[in-house]
Structure formats: C-alpha cells, structure tokens
C-alpha cells in the first residue's frame, strides 16, 4: 500500500510539472491554434534564470526563503519577457500566413533558444541547489514524499486556480475567451487582439518558468536540453486532455504522470515512453478531441 502511495505521489509530482508547462501550450493553442514548440525552451530558460538569480542572491547573503521566492519571481519575469519577444518576432508577422509557417517558425525558435543557451551558458549539466527547506512536520514522511514535492503540488494548484479565476472573471479573461471563439468578431467589437495574444504568451511563459524552477530544485540539475523532453511530454499531456482546454491540460498531465509512474513501478521502466504514447494513441482513437476537449473539426 505504501508502495502504491509512493508511486501515486511520484506520478502526481511529475504530472504537476507537466501541467505547469502544458497550461502554456494549451492557452496558446486555444487562442491562436499554434503549437508553440518553443514553450519547452521557455521552461528551460526559466530554470536557468532561477539558477543564476539563486547564485547571485546566495552570494549576497539573502535568506533562503527570500532567495527562492525572488528567484521564482525573476525567472517568471524573465521567461515572460522571452515568451513575449518570441511571439513578437516569430509568430506575429506570420499571423495571416498558413498555419504550417507559424509551426515551422516555432520549431526554429525552439532550436534557436536551445543553442543560444548552449553557447551563452554551457553544455554541461549544472547543479541546482535545493532551496525549499524540509518542513519539520514532514520529517517522518520524508521517505514517501518530500517537502519540495508538497510545494510543487500546492504551487500547481494555486496557479491552476488563479488562471481559472482570471479566465472566468477578469476583463482580460473574457477577452481571451472571445478571441479563442472568434478572432475576427472580437476584433470587430473592439478587442485588442494583439494585446490579448501577448498576454497569453506572457502568462503561459511565467507558468512554465515556475515549473522550471520547481523541477530543477526537485531533481537538482539542469542543462540546456531539459526543455525538449519536458516540452514534448507536456505537449502530449495537453493533447491527451484536449488541447485548448485548461482543465483538460491539467487532467491530461496528471493522467500522463500517473501512467508513467505506475507503469514503471508495476511493470517496467524500459517501455515507459512506449506505454505512455500507446496510451495517448488509444485515447485519441476513442476520443479524438482528448479527454475534455470539444471536437471542433473545422479547426483541424
């Protein structure tokens, strides 16, 4: 039973991280029907920024909690700036081009950012300090679930709630929903579409940066390539849940995290990815729009 619980919580951790990245994928897709392949790289840049800020602040002698909070905030800001810029440079000029052009542009951006970090930083793996303190009350359970993981669950839940609130109850959220439904019509009624799209990228990137800092501090290392696999997995999770749907992205991520964890735990990790993708194919055969997606054949 304890083993089951451990696998469940491990899967939850993985799923939460996937969710933080998948949210950005799904928001962007919902609004401009673009699969933003550079999103994984934004996550990686978030982790790198976090590391740099942590190194500097630790050197300056800041207190540990202040360091992690500041690092997360600066990483969010920095990644958001990247997300904003990437959209302005690589996607906005292609707004009216065929969708394939924007997709190719996204792949190019992803490769560019990877190699940029490789050149500007290093190709080596770098250690990432674990700054989240072990909570006293967690001590007896530390072998099952770590304090870092608890922080990951809570953060994901909070981010998820905040986003839902924003989409449902704020003006910007309303504008986003309007643009997602019909871009031309929203433009006609006076919605600043470019601004809405920029906001979407900023929010999605900031979310990914939180994921980057959290997972890096959980596993303790980063390099320029971590965004690729995490990005692909999060993309799969977004598709699994129904791309374009925010609760779908979170559900899809958790399902993917648990699938991987339980498959590894009870069967074998040799075929972990094979199984995860077979599962994806099966779901898409029976529910082509994903778990929570609405089928909109005209969008494909």
């Amino acid at each position: 039973m304890e083993y089951f619980l451990e696998l469940f919580l491990g899967g939850l951790t993985r799923g939460s991280i996937y969710a933080l990245i998948a949210l950005g994928y799904t928001m962007v897709y919902g609004i401009i029907q673009l699969i933003n392949f550079a999103h994984g790289e934004i996550y990686m840049i978030g982790a790198f920024t976090g590391l740099i800020v942590i190194s500097v602040l630790t050197l300056l002698g800041f207190n540990q909690v202040a360091v992690i909070i500041l690092a997360a905030l600066i990483a969010m800001l920095y990644s958001a700036a990247y997300g904003f810029t990437v959209e302005k440079i690589a996607y906005q000029p292609l707004r009216h081009a065929p969708r394939l052009s924007a997709l190719i542009s996204a792949i190019g951006m992803s490769l560019f950012l990877q190699n940029y970090v490789l050149l500007a930083q290093t190709s080596n793996f770098l250690p990432f300090p674990n700054l989240i303190p072990g909570f006293g009350f967690m001590k007896p359970y530390e072998h099952i679930v770590r304090s870092t993981e608890i922080v990951i669950y809570i953060t994901t839940a909070v981010v998820m709630l905040l986003l839902t609130y924003m989409i449902k109850f704020t003006r910007m959220g309303k504008a986003m929903r309007a643009v997602a439904q019909d871009r031309t019509m929203s433009m006609l009624v006076g919605v600043d579409v470019n601004r809405v799209i920029s906001y979407t990228f900023i929010i999605g990137s900031a979310t990914a940066a939180i994921g980057g800092v959290l997972i890096a501090s959980h596993i303790g290392q980063i390099n320029f390539y971590i965004g690729f696999i995490a990005g692909i997995k999060a993309f799969v999770a977004a598709v699994l849940g129904g791309i374009g749907s925010m609760p779908g992205a979170v559900l899809g991520s958790l399902v993917l995290g648990w699938t991987e964890s339980f498959f590894t735990g009870y069967i074998s990790s040799d075929y972990e990815d094979v199984f995860a993708f077979v599962f994806l194919v099966l779901i898409l055969i029976f529910r082509p729009a994903g778990l929570l997606g609405r089928s909109e054949p005209d969008k494909v």
Binding site: Y3, F125, L126, P127, H143, I215, I219, Q221, F262, T264
Partner: protein
Amino acid sequence: MRKIRRSRYFALALIVALAALALASCGEQKTTETAKPSEAPAEKALEPIKLGVAGAHSGDLASYGIPSVRAAELVVKHRNAVNGIGGRKIELLVEDDACKPEVATNTATKLVTDKAQVVMGHICSGATKAALGIYKDSKIITISPSATNPELTQSGDYPNFYRTIASDDAQARLEVDFALNHLKLTKIAVLHDKGDYGKGLAEFAKGFLEADSRAEVVLYEGITPGAVDYSAVVQKIKQSGAQAVIFGGYHPEASKLVTQMRNKAMDTVFISDDGVKDDTFIKVAGEFAEGVYATGPVDTSTNPMAIEATEAHKKDYGEEPGAFFLNAYSATLALLNAIEKCGSTEYEALSKALKSEWVATPLGIIKFDDRGDAIGVGFAVYQVQDGKYVAVQM
C-alpha cells in the same frame, strides 16, 4: 560488346598491376627484416628469437596498429642492446592484417611459415579471432595489446591467447566482485540507460551476478535518459530491497538517480562505471555523490616505466605515442620476460611462465590468469571521498 571486352581486359591488367605492387611491397618488407640480424654477425652461433608483430599497419585502423609495432621495436632495441635474451638476439617479423579477418589468416600463416616463435598481436578482435586458430595449431603463444572481445579468453577455445588489455566485460566483472567480495552485499539491482555502452555493461553484470550463487538480482531495469525525474524507478529500487545498485551508463542519469535516492533517505550503495567516473558527476550530485563507487582505468600517468616508454617513443619517432602503445609495450615485455624466465620458447613452459611470473610493465606489475587475461591491468574501483575520486584498496 567490344567496349565491354576492352574494359574487362583493362580490369584484368589493373588486377595484375596491383598484385605486382603488393608483391613488391612484401618483398621490400622482407629485406628490412632480414637486414636486422645481419647487423650482429658475431652472435650468429645462437639462433635469434623470432617475434611476430601482427596487426593493422595499413588502412583505416592503422593508427591502432602502428603504435604496437613501434612499441615492439623500442622494447627489442633496448633488449638487443644488452645482448638480447641469454645472448640470443630478438628479431621482429612485422606483418599487416589491415584489421580484416580474411587477411589475418594469411598473415598468421605467413608468420608461422617464417617460423615466428611468439606473436604480439593482433589488434582488432575480429582479426585476432581469425588468426588465433592458426597459431593454436602451431602452438604459438599470442599476446594482443588491444583485442577486447570477452569471448577470446572466456570461451576457452584459445589457450594460447593472452592480452594486456581488459576485456569489454572487465568493468562489470570488477563491479560485481567488488559488491560481492569486498562490500559483501548480495541483493543487487542492475540498472542501465538503454544505450549500447550502459546496457552492454549491465547485461554482463547481470550475467555474472546470476552465475554467482551468493548474489540475487532483485531488479533489472532500463531507465529513460533525460526523463523529468526518476522517482518511480527509485521507489522501485527501494521496494526491491536492493542493498546495492549497479548502474551502467553516464553521469547525468547517475547523478539524478543518486540525488533522488538520497533525497528519499535511501542509503543504498551505488556502484557504476567509467561513464560516471567523471568530475562533472561530483559537481552536479554534490554532497550526494559522497560514497559512490565507480570503476575506471588504472591510472598509469605516474608509472615511471610508462613515462620512460613514452619519452623513448618521442625521442625515436618525434611524436606522442598512439593508442594501445603502453599495452603493446607491456605485452612485448611480458613475452620477453617469460622467455627469459623459462629459457625457451617452448609452448608449455612459456604458458607456465606467463601465468606465474610477475613482470613490471608500464601498466603496472602484471601476470596472466588461467584464461589469459592480465591481472593488474585495466580497471580499479574508485570512491567519491570529500569531493574527489579516490582509488579503493581491495
């Protein structure tokens, strides 16, 4: 039609021309070889010892073979300068096999015909295997400086074969022996990164563990390199009750695994390979790296004989020695030492001497085990202590 016939004639002419060239180059080689003993006509009374040196001396892989020829030349030069072995000079018979098994059989036949008494070679495992049968039939002891295929010694098919390089499975063997004999652990999880190197090692380790009645392989798994985390695998290791993990792979995965294991308050012993014996591993895993074991090549950089051999090479050939130079140097030394100890090149006596007499070489002090693998060559166990890999005394 006519055109085709003409081109056929042309091809024939080309083959003849090439064959003539090849003969010419063989002829040349022979003259240089026969030139050597004539330098010292005074000792003509004593028969020279003929040492065959075979390997890739031309073609793509010549860079693996040439250093062995030079090593043999250097050792023989030094030896002949002090009157050879018991007054008998040593004569080199250098033959090329281009690393091709089909050529290697001819090379071997030629060495046998030329009455080579011992052979240092061949270089590539495939060519070595092809040639070994011929030497075996003629009862000629053969030492390879570089053929690493485990089968060559382990199959028992070639009792005339020895080598001064660790076989491909030596690391796995060392890891397993270390866990079972030194650390006295029996329940072992074997993990790998699904790559050629890591999985190959893990398969050997699993095989050795299963062959040992004390050991129990409680888990055998491949992990996905680059995965977001390994918490499920780590839980599985814990669940399996493993006392030690033997991991085949490289340091990024190893540091992630170790970090997550230690974070889950597991003190399972972690043993890995020279893909992990890298300072990056210590840097990334930080405090969690402490106590991790990794096998790696025995350090020869401080061995005075290795330094001397390298200097001699630089002096005579004007460049740094290439791959397997020290292995070939050691192989030649070991052969000559055995011949000196038993006073003949007779097969039985020589085998006994190789297996019983320790000899100081640039690779350390070595002798050969019953299968023909050098003891003291190859890998050592290192442990991370205070942020550094330190050799473990066994």
